[in-house]
């Protein structure tokens, strides 16, 4: 199939144009360790490939390097018929710096190029006009003025595109090949001054909004409000959706197991498949809701402002302003948070952010916290007469996670070797125009986030669920206590003894490596309480009667704050960093750290 390549600067509306051309069916190709995504879809008889927005062909980061090398690759491909370079009509000069570079590249490879002057509706809204014909003459390549959002000129472009792509040899840019960087800048400036619009009106409007949103007082309040909204949405409003998915998985389990009858097959399906993998699927809505909110923030232009506000305070810890949202999201679930770290401009800061996100107290830890707090902290105690001690402990655990993350960040800031220039990118951020987000690219993004989550985490969750089920189920008949897992628990009891925990806790901890919340149900089984997930109070009373030392309990709580007991997170870390070494190294590091913290706590408090 012949290919049409879509390139352009960030914030030029390229994604929307891609969606308008290809509809809602698209494929996303990822490359390990970098944020580069190549989206492809079909337009008539052509394959359209959407390249990531880039400022220049001269790369600054590794991500850009890979994006540009992919671009070079596809230009060598005989199937590539045409390059479509999207320009921002409201920022002609800046878009043309990249546009002219692309034109030269096309010329070098003997490929056709056409320009799209996008967002022409915004130009028209200010009663201004762009001389498209003149620009076309001056550029020596076809120019189409259109708005992918307001649907102005889009139909004409769609009609012309097949003809252009079928006769590429007629649209190879008519320019001399040897143009220097200085010439590109000069030419962009001249063209921008001749054909571009005066942007003062637009920038004035943008500046007025910024006067509010970046104001030291109101801006701070607006920031807190927006972040509270984000937190609420993933934490509370995603809940009905998660419950819905859980109910659906339950229904499906009931239907399927009604065919398999009693026995080992049903037990396997119920516990390993629907219990293990099914529980993980319930996180999908939360991830999609989070992606939606972050997408709204990014497409509206606010995300850049939020990064600006957070940049200085976070830079003390070796983090970027763009680390804030991933950190906040990490309190819901580490997986979308790690994926959200893609927006961080500096690969080094992105790595530090991703490596510390697992220390945020995610929602899977909540049942564990709730159980142990109910066991250890009396309900009627207050601090300073107003704050409930249980609530304060909860808050303290969250705070402990954040503090640990900041400490680890500082350590990594000094420990990670500064490599070459490409490993770090200074904070140079464009503040884009505020725009109303369009639902098409957003919905694509939301769907993709769910798909990617399943693709990356499901296989490993499946394997671990099956292994844990197997070890806990056999030999048959003796229950969990006498299973292989129980045997392993007895064997490794000495490991847990310095933490003040016996083998039953050891088994529950081992089982929670698939997902932390499994701890509650597993401990319930060990202590003879069925359905402990719904009966935390009953299990807490049972643990109290059974006896758990205060130091051991608090140590266990801190263990759960620090330990990276989530194979799905390890899998996503591996995919996003591109290195197994980092993912499993962190798993071991946080495990050892958690162990020593728990041991020290038990030794001190007793």
């Amino acid at each position: 199939m012949k290919k049409i390549i879509l390139v352009g600067k960030p914030n030029c509306g390229k994604s929307l144009l891609f969606n308008q051309l290809t509809g809602l069916r698209q494929k996303v190709a990822n490359f390990p360790g970098v944020t580069v995504e190549l989206k492809s879809g079909q337009f008539k008889q052509f394959e359209v490939v959407d390249f990531p927005g880039t400022y220049s062909l001269q790369t600054l980061s590794r991500d850009e390097e890979i994006a540009i090398s992919k671009l070079h690759e596809s230009l060598l491909d005989d199937d590539t018929a045409l390059m479509v370079c999207v320009l921002d009509a409201t920022r002609l000069e800046r878009s043309l710096v990249f546009g002219l570079q692309v034109q030269q590249l096309a010329k070098k490879h003997n490929k056709a190029v056409v320009f799209v002057l996008n967002m022409i509706d915004e130009v028209q809204r200010y009663g201004l006009k762009i001389d498209t014909d003149g620009l076309q003459q001056a550029l020596g390549s076809p120019v189409f003025a259109l708005s992918a959002k307001a649907l102005v000129g889009l139909a004409e472009f769609q009609q012309a595109l097949p003809e252009l792509a079928d006769n590429p040899q007629q649209h190879i840019p008519d320019i001399s090949e040897e143009t220097t960087q200085l010439n590109v800048l000069q030419q962009a400036k001249t063209l921008g001054q001749t054909y571009g619009i005066n942007v003062d009106v637009m920038l004035k409007k943008q500046n007025r909004i910024d006067n509010f949103l970046l104001n030291n007082v109101f801006g701070g309040l607006a920031f807190l409000f927006i972040m509270f909204f984000l937190f609420q949405s993933v934490f509370t409003w995603a809940n009905p959706l998660m419950d819905g998915v859980e109910a659906l998985v339950g229904e499906l389990a009931a239907v399927v197991t009604s065919f398999t009858g009693e026995g080992i097959v049903t037990d396997f399906l119920n516990d390993a498949i629907f219990g293990g993998v099914g529980a993980f699927i319930t996180f999908v809505p939360q991830i999609m809701v989070l992606t939606l909110i972050i997408g709204l923030l990014e497409d509206s232009g606010y995300l850049a402002r939020a990064a600006l506000i957070c940049h200085k305070p976070l830079s003390y810890f070796g983090l970027s302003g763009r680390s804030f949202i991933p950190y906040l999201s990490g309190h819901a679930c580490a997986i979308p948070a790690i994926m959200a770290a893609r927006t961080i401009e500096s690969p080094r800061k992105r790595l530090i952010t991703m490596m510390t996100i697992p220390l945020m107290s995610c929602s899977a830890r909540l049942p564990v916290y709730a159980l142990l707090i109910a066991v250890l902290i009396p309900e009627d105690h207050t601090v300073l007469g107003i704050f409930n001690l249980q609530g304060v402990t909860f808050f303290g655990l969250y705070l402990f996670g954040i503090l640990m993350a900041l400490v680890v960040s500082i350590v990594m800031k000094h420990a990670l070797p500064q490599q070459d220039d490409k490993s770090d990118m200074p904070f140079i951020l464009e503040l884009p125009t505020y725009r109303l987000p369009h639902w098409k690219p957003l919905s694509q993004r939301v769907l993709n986030s769910g798909k990617q989550f399943i693709k990356r985490a499901a296989p490993v969750i499946f394997v671990v669920s099956v292994v844990i089920w197997f070890l806990g189920y056999f030999p048959q008949g003796g229950g969990l206590q006498n299973s292989w897992l129980g045997t392993i628990g007895h064997v490794i009891e000495p490991v847990f003894a310095p933490l003040g925990l016996d083998w039953r806790y050891g088994v529950a901890i081992l089982m929670s490596f698939a997902a932390r919340e499994v701890f509650v149900g597993a401990l319930g089984t060990m202590l003879g309480i069925d359905g402990a997930d719904e009966n935390i109070g009953g299990l807490a009373a049972q643990i109290q009667a059974d006896g758990l030392a205060l130091g051991a309990g608090i140590g266990l709580l801190l263990f759960y704050v620090v330990a990276l007991q989530c194979v799905a997170t390890v899998a996503v870390l591996r995919a996003e960093t591109g290195k197994s070494r980092i993912a499993w190294g962190l798993f071991a590091l946080y495990g050892v750290l958690a162990y020593f913290i728990a041991m020290t706590t038990y030794q001190i408090i007793g």
Binding site: S56, E93, Q181, K312, G321, F427, L431
Partner: protein
Amino acid sequence: MTLWDIKVKQIAQIHSLSSMLSSAVSQRLDEMGFNPGQNVICLRRSPLKGPVVVQIGDSVYSLEQNVANKIQLA
């Protein structure tokens, strides 16, 4: 004087980019419009020596201290 010393609403002219900047960063700044002779307006400063926000040509950028103080103003 560098771009880091600019005050809110002040208009200045870019003189040069310091050789302390890596060539890749220099080139990017060049492409973003930080060219000698170009006018730049400071739109806002952030508290605690946070990034400075400037308008240059048709775009608005925010730069942190260790970049802004390597852009010389005329």
